[in-house]
């Protein structure tokens, strides 16, 4: 159990800005709810923390280590998807 911190992260899809200057800090054992209308960038934020999306600006820090360039399999993190995602067989 360790901390997750995001510092001023921004995500742009071309011209479109999906997440802008988001800050968040989650301590070990803490339960956090990210609330917002549809399309406000919740999923995009989580995908950046998981490493499935690269940040345009800002840093993702997990357990005190900056993880911006690490691929998802190196981040030791888990995520549940909005829609089912079961492996075939």
């Amino acid at each position: 159990m360790s901390t997750i911190e995001i510092k001023k992260i921004t995500k742009k899809f071309g011209e479109f800005t999906a997440v802008k200057d988001a800050d968040l800090s989650v301590k070990a054992g803490e339960v956090v709810c990210l609330l917002g209308p549809s399309g406000c960038g919740k999923t995009t934020t989580l995908r950046m923390i998981a490493g499935l999306e690269r940040t345009t600006e800002g840093d993702v820090v997990i357990a005190g280590k900056r993880m911006n360039e690490l691929p998802p399999e190196k981040r030791d993190i888990a995520m549940v998807f909005q829609f089912y995602a079961l492996y075939p067989r």
């Binding site: 998802p72 399999e73 888990a78 995520m79 998807f81 829609f83 995602a85 075939p88």
Partner: protein, 314 residues
């Protein structure tokens, strides 16, 4: 629920439905349509067991036995395996030495050339399709369209430049030559088919695998490929049938050693003055049917899912 697997199903047949399950009306209708559909095949198979004058007789002799006198004599022929033996060997004069017609070689050629080019196209095409689906380039659709246009030209338009190119680089009449040509010939179809299968997959499944620690290669082989097995099977069978039947390129680009069955068949049945040897032709065709039939048969469960895939909106 005890669903027992019968020997029938173990052999690869689909679960047989009893006649009553679809209703007699449907069953009879399907039987009628299948009969009309398969009648030409049936005629070919029957003809392959006839000698020349029986093959030509009018009215056609349809029955190999008279069923204990039930069928009038004029519709009954005496089955013979003569045609099948003369596919592979023949004697020029009665009593002369028997020599090989080379058809064993041609059958091998057909299987080797069609099999390897379709597999090659499947490997290259599946990788390309995955790329087109997951890592789109700028102008992705334009590339895909250009790939498709290579199949829009009739073969006859491109055949002469291809012959000249093959002559110059020395591929004419060789195995690599015809195999590469067929691979290129199959690629557009393979890429388009496989791309549509990859497009249908849920990206979340792949992301979940990435978070769980899979590398990109592992995602492709362990997560994506198992989901498109039906597509691979369908693409393989379609490609195989197309290549198996191909005549024009084979006629002009294969040599004596690399000749395929469709070309050799055309040359073998010209009976030299007595017209087409229908019995021999039918025997070659019957043998020619078997390999593709077997492949299609053993892949049928995948195939049925493969061709209906993508028609159902998620």
């Amino acid at each position: 629920m005890a669903t027992s697997t019968t020997t029938w199903e173990k052999l690869g047949f689909r679960k047989a439905f009893r006649v009553g399950e679809a209703g007699w009306g449907h069953t009879l209708w399907v039987a009628l349509v299948s009969f009309i559909y398969f009648l030409p095949v049936l005629i070919i198979v029957i003809t392959s067991f006839k000698v020349q004058n029986e093959a030509l007789s009018v009215p056609a002799k349809f029955f190999p036995t008279s069923f204990f006198g039930l069928i009038p004599e004029q519709y009954v022929f005496t089955p013979t395996l003569e045609n099948f033996t003369s596919v592979f060997s023949r004697a020029f004069t009665t009593g002369g030495a028997v020599e090989s017609t080379g058809f064993d070689r041609y059958f091998f050629n057909s299987m080797f050339i069609a099999g390897s080019s379709v597999l090659l196209a499947l490997v290259i095409g599946t990788l390309a399709a995955f790329g087109f689906s997951r890592y789109p380039l700028k102008g992705n659709d334009t590339y895909l369209f250009i790939i498709l246009t290579t199949r829009m030209l009739p073969a006859i338009v491109v055949i002469i430049p291809i012959i000249l190119m093959f002559r110059i680089v020395g591929l004419s009449g060789s195995y690599p030559g015809i195999i590469f040509l067929y691979t290129a010939f199959n690629l557009p179809f393979t890429i388009w088919m496989m791309k549509s299968f990859f497009d249908e997959l849920s990206l979340d499944v792949e992301d979940a695998a990435r978070i769980d620690g899979s590398s990109e290669l592992r995602v492709f082989f362990k997560v994506c490929l198992p989901q498109v097995v039906a597509g691979l099977a369908a693409t393989f069978v379609f490609g195989l049938i197309l290549t198996w039947n191909e005549f024009l390129f084979a006629l002009l680009l294969t040599g004596a050693d690399t000749r395929t069955v469709p070309v050799a068949m055309n040359q073998a049945v010209a009976g030299g003055g007595i017209g087409v040897l229908w019995g021999l032709l039918a025997a070659i065709e019957t043998l020619f049917l078997i390999p593709v039939f077997l492949v299609t048969f053993f892949l049928q469960n995948h195939l049925l899912r493969g061709v209906t895939f993508g028609t159902v909106k998620r």
